[in-house]
């Protein structure tokens, strides 16, 4: 039985299809992963806000060597959300179809890999897919 951790709210929201990040009430920094202190001004006055999960593809790779329990190839990269924060994410697209700067959306995904997520095993994880430039 896991005790409730600070990030529980993120995973609960993700289960409902919402992607939460953090904002600082003092300096307005938007940041991810969520934590109770602002990494920019160190204020402890921070709040959860909803991101629509959209952003730009900052970098990406196709990995040919992977751990036991993962697919033989993994496509993953860094997404810069429209609100500012960057995050590392799996990408549900063919590597050859991706270009730096692509518009993407980070969304909940079933997590099929055999990698220990401990008390998060019942929750979805997230992945990015490309979207139209207008979105």
């Amino acid at each position: 039985m896991c005790e409730t951790s600070y990030t529980e709210r993120f995973w609960e929201a993700l289960s409902d299809g919402r992607f939460l990040i953090h904002t600082c009430n003092d300096c307005e920094e938007r940041f991810f992963p969520p934590a109770p202190v602002c990494p920019s001004c160190h204020s402890w006055s921070v709040d959860w806000i909803e991101s629509n999960g959209t952003g730009e593809l900052y970098s990406f790779t196709r990995q040919h060597a992977t751990a036991d329990g993962f697919p033989d190839e993994i496509v993953a990269g860094v997404v810069e959300l429209d609100e500012g924060p960057r995050l590392l994410t799996a990408i549900d697209e063919a590597y050859a179809d991706l270009v730096l700067g692509d518009r993407v959306r980070v969304e909940p995904r079933e997590y099929p890999h055999n990698y220990d997520r401990g008390c998060r095993s019942e929750y979805p994880f997230f992945a990015a897919t490309t979207i139209d430039g207008d979105e």
Binding site: H64, T66, A67, I74, V78, H113
Partner: protein, 393 residues
């Protein structure tokens, strides 16, 4: 920190990179023996023991405690550091600080590591995954080459660098290491072989990754101030540890905030501090031995050291300026790309190479080497150390 004494490397020991079938503690005893003999220091003189924590798959835990019992050593300071690739750097810098302050007189620094005993897709990969954010990143399944592949991609994108040209840094480093029997490879490679090796994490190819292997190194650090507390062996091979620097950015692997992942502020700031501490300006350094696990990282470190403008690090290699006989030689030992790479040992290999350059005994010797700057790093160069070595008077 008040510096009261000058610290020097009195002796070095090194196990050639390769594969070893004996336990790590026996490797440790061998390499420590070699360093003590080189320093002409007796075991009984050692009063400090400094090492990186053994890798998680090393059977012997409580390694330093076990070793002190085996060696019959009583010491005033011991430390096992666990910060990935900077562990050896921090162990060494702690030893130097303790010798400078007078906390110890004869510090023994060593690292041993076996990677041949672990499956790279099994427990090794589990360890790597656990170095990412356990909540939000580990489940993605990213490898270390997968991380560096993205900064290589950004580097080529941001500075219009021709990706294929990065292979030339590997060619240079493999060439530098080829004649050294202590390194993993005895043959150079050409550009076509690098670019034709199998893809690991696009755009990084196998020969652009540092090859994991087994190895070990040890150094004896003493004081040689001639103030009555002189504990050095007064051998011709004494090399001064002139400057220490260290820095950690507020970043974790690829997770930076505003700056590009093609900038490495930790190594820039660590090198500045080491230069200041050593009283040596950039143009007074003769040789650089960075911890640069992928070719674009050597190019970026060339920039962060202030040797060339941002984006011009690769061009410096292509123009021969970073060759052993170039304007500012970088990785004449071959670095971890040319030598092979036990990450706990690599920082100490850089120190051993610095000592060899200053003694004039390096395999790929830089002429008239008087000052050498080395670095170590961990993560995606999130944390770094820098150390300046000077030829003894």
């Amino acid at each position: 920190m008040t510096v009261t004494r000058t610290a020097s490397v009195a002796g070095i020991g090194l196990l050639p990179n390769g594969t070893y079938s004996i336990p790590e503690r026996e490797l440790a005893i061998d390499v420590i023996h070699e360093a003590l003999e080189d320093a002409a220091v007796s075991m009984a003189d050692v009063d400090g023991l400094y090492m990186p924590s053994p890798r998680p798959w090393t059977k012997q835990k409580f390694f330093s405690t076990n070793l002190l019992h085996l060696l019959g050593l009583e010491v005033d300071r011991t430390i096992e550091v666990s910060t990935g690739g900077t562990s050896g750097g921090k162990a060494f810098q702690t030893a130097v600080s303790d010798v400078r302050s007078g906390a110890v007189d004869t510090a023994l620094v060593f690292a041993v590591e076996r990677n041949s005993v672990i499956e790279t897709t099994g427990p090794y990969f589990d360890y790597i995954l656990s170095t990412f954010d356990a909540n939000f990143e580990s489940p993605i399944g990213m490898s270390i080459p997968g991380v560096y592949a993205q900064s290589m991609q950004r580097y080529c994108h941001e500075y219009d660098v021709k990706r294929e040209d990065l292979a030339e840094i590997v060619v240079k480093n493999r060439d530098n290491a080829a004649a050294d029997p202590d390194t993993l490879f005895d043959k150079p490679v050409d550009r076509e072989a690098v670019l034709g090796s199998r893809p690991i994490a696009d755009p990084i190819r196998l020969y652009e990754c540092p090859a994991p292997c087994d190895g070990g190194a040890a150094l004896v650090v003493t004081s040689d101030d001639g103030d009555g507390s002189d504990t050095s062996s007064e051998t011709e091979g004494t090399v001064e540890v002139a400057g220490l620097g260290s820095h950690h950015a507020a970043s974790h692997l690829l997770m930076t905030r505003d700056e590009s992942i093609t900038e490495l502020p930790a190594v820039r700031k660590a090198a500045r501090e080491a230069s200041r501490d050593g009283g040596r300006a950039r143009d007074e350094i003769d040789v650089y031995e960075p911890y640069a696990p992928f070719p674009h990282i050597e190019a970026i470190i060339t920039e962060e050291l202030g040797l060339v403008d941002r984006g011009a690090g690769l061009e410096a290699c292509l123009d021969g300026r970073t060759a052993a006989d170039g304007e500012f030689p970088i990785s004449p030992s071959g670095g971890c790309l040319g030598r092979g790479h036990p990450p706990m040992v690599t920082p100490l290999y850089n120190y051993v190479e610095a000592v060899r350059q200053l003694r004039g005994t390096a395999s790929t010797q830089v002429l008239d080497a008087n000052y050498v700057l080395t670095t170590s790093e961990h993560g995606h160069v999130n944390g770094a150390t820098a150390t300046v070595f000077a030829k003894g008077e």
